[in-house]
Symmetry: C3
Subunit: 296 residues, 3 copies
């Protein structure tokens, strides 16, 4: 970070940018060192092209904010943290996202940059996070989950596609081969205690303690010497982050398999059953995604 | 997979091969997507040259079966899943196994090919799995163990040899350095809850629920789109599987150390104490293998 | 190991060297295969230049002792295993330690050599181990911790420096990215059950069972065939140990950040609050290290 970046005037500019009007997010730049981003996209916090564009903007602000130590990502909806991706029947909007500064697709790009950013990113998870929602929390540095109200999963293989946003690369390193293969191939939901046991999250925390504990941790981190934190994290990154080149092939597989007519019919069937709505299907998606499969 | 491989006629051939008569196995090709292999080699399911040859044949069938999604390996003996290797006092039979398609010794070859096969292999574990038995489950994709009736271990170092079938390479990646060194060097048995805690198995499941839960998981997997599953698994493989070149040196060490006269005397002593029989020694082998050591 | 190394006369020499007079250690060379080293540096077992020099000597003896199978490291102080590093207001004493046989700084050198030594090193942990104390246990092969009386942590980032003795490289591989980042960046203490859950230690053991269980494990290991043990461990090393080149840069960062005037003032403030003494601050250092930070 150059001396110019840390002049007060530049810092003033950086803070101003956080206060724009956001569509799917609420952003609270609480203090010099601490920012909170709250997902708020009713009814179930699906991730759309708009969400991706806004998250990419957030990551850019994080990278340019020389005093920021910690960003907490939580949800305004206690039942859904981030449901999963929704193309809104208009793949062109997703395609229009283009590539980011790393040269990768906007979604991969923002996840990779978030993981390398010189701050501590914390996913404070209450409710469901599946598919791209799970991919997002896996790109955060720390994951704390409501013990009673969490469901995590990568349901893609059960639907007939390859997960595209890096969970093979990240889960394989985080929870080991056996549990990563179970999460990805059995493709069912994990609740909070199971997610903690498997190491999918750092810890499950009693729901009525989650917000306070995450806030205490973030408040502590906000006071730290930025330089010590920013110089320590890359040593962990170099051991634990996938190479960039690992990620794009699976996303290409995702697009290829999604484009098959049988898959488009299957997703249409899932939508009839309640996909993308606050439905019984969405509440139990990991278990019920197979309802759209042939009898086998 | 070529178009020819997935023609019905070829598929018909593949299914027929499963139904041959097996010596140490029972094979139930339950449905298009699901196969169950049951170890049945009284009295304690030792692994011999015959078992290795049959397992190699099973792996070949798995590789050629374009619609198979899941293979469950369980045991007909509730006390012994796979005891360990037994040369039957005739090392020539083991030597005669030769090398497999990977160029490695038949045992390493079949484990490596099973781990890379485009299906989900599940070890449904009840009873004891030690030495080569543990090496087999470590090469499976998922491991579910009876909470009450499981004992796992690599007893080799306590007997005076290097484990030869890859457990250093696999455990080091699965459970981390500290726990891998404990399992391999202290070389004692782990029960179901400890195996779950260490990540040696995915989960310990109450004994009276184990069969049902594994069957439900396998039935779910059997319905999945084979292509999605077969394209997702290699992304985990590339992060979590050892390079082939890692494996043969430890097997060479195993053969070298086993060949020392003191070791042959030690194994003779263990056999007097009950090795390879349904004995008190075999039931507590991890603890009691040291009974054959000098007093130290 | 050469034939000469294992002649009885050379072995006699090796044993004699263990029995010198030690300043911060008690050394009990219990049997041919088993040695116990007890940290005893009142009041709180800080690590100083003297401790490092003596530990380097111990590692040299371990390397030259052809019959040794296991070394247990425990503490004479039930409240402090190894508090952390203390320069004793004289950085020149630390600088004078120079480099070891690996070409690295004496502290990194002894940790790297201990991890590669052909014995099983066991940290039997009761009390606090933070900073360099945590770095020491992370370089041991096995870690067993008192369930009731353990506090582990890397408090450095909370104090404003980069941890210098390898914990990023070791924790990242041991507990995975999320939990490693939490331990290193949140920089708070973990108690025994949490350390076990995260995999920071192999297991937490009831305090009144810890000594007996570790002794039983060490006595078992002492009887093993040295060759089998010494040939098995390197296969785990090659998968789980960091490359030597990973370690020095973080130590350079530690020295650079420690040298900043603001940091020297901060450590002076911590010393006023009780650092390096048997104080309330030391007993809760992970939580209270932030007392020396600006309000933020």
């Amino acid at each position: 970070m150059s001396a110019i970046d840390s002049t007060p005037s530049n810092n003033g500019q950086a803070r101003e940018s956080w206060s724009k009007s956001w569509t799917h997010l609420k952003v609270d730049r609480r203090s010099r060192g601490y920012c909170r981003v709250t997902f708020d996209h009713p009814p179930i916090n699906t991730i759309t092209a708009t969400t991706v564009a806004e998250l990419a903007e957030v990551v850019g602000l994080i990278e340019q904010d020389p005093e920021l130590n910690v960003v907490v990502f939580d949800s305004a909806n206690p039942d859904f943290y981030l449901a999963h991706y929704d193309t809104e029947h208009d793949p062109a909007r997703t395609a229009a996202l283009g590539v980011g500064p790393t040269g990768m697709h906007a979604w991969l790009d923002l996840l990779v940059r978030l993981a390398r950013a010189p701050v501590v990113s914390i996913a404070s998870i209450r409710g469901r996070a599946r598919g791209a929602g799970s991919e997002f929390i896996l790109a955060c540095d720390l994951r704390f989950a409501s013990r009673e109200s969490t469901l995590l999963g990568q349901f893609e293989v059960a639907a007939g596609v390859v997960p595209g946003g890096g969970p093979m690369a990240r889960l394989a390193r985080l929870v080991g081969r056996g549990r990563a293969l179970e999460i990805l191939l059995v493709a069912d939901d994990l609740d909070g205690p199971r997610a903690e046991q498997y190491g999918y999250v750092n810890r499950a925390i009693a729901d009525d303690r989650l917000d306070d504990e995450v806030h205490e941790t973030a408040s502590r981190l906000a006071r730290f010497d930025h330089e010590a934190l920013a110089r320590t994290k890359p040593y962990v990154d170099q051991v634990t982050l996938p190479a960039d080149s690992e990620l794009p092939p699976a996303l290409a597989d995702f697009f290829e398999l999604s484009g098959r007519p049988a898959l488009q019919a299957r997703f249409a069937r899932l939508e009839e059953l309640g996909l993308n709505a606050d439905s019984d299907l969405e509440r139990a998606l990991g278990r019920r995604v197979v309802d759209a499969l042939p009898d086998g």
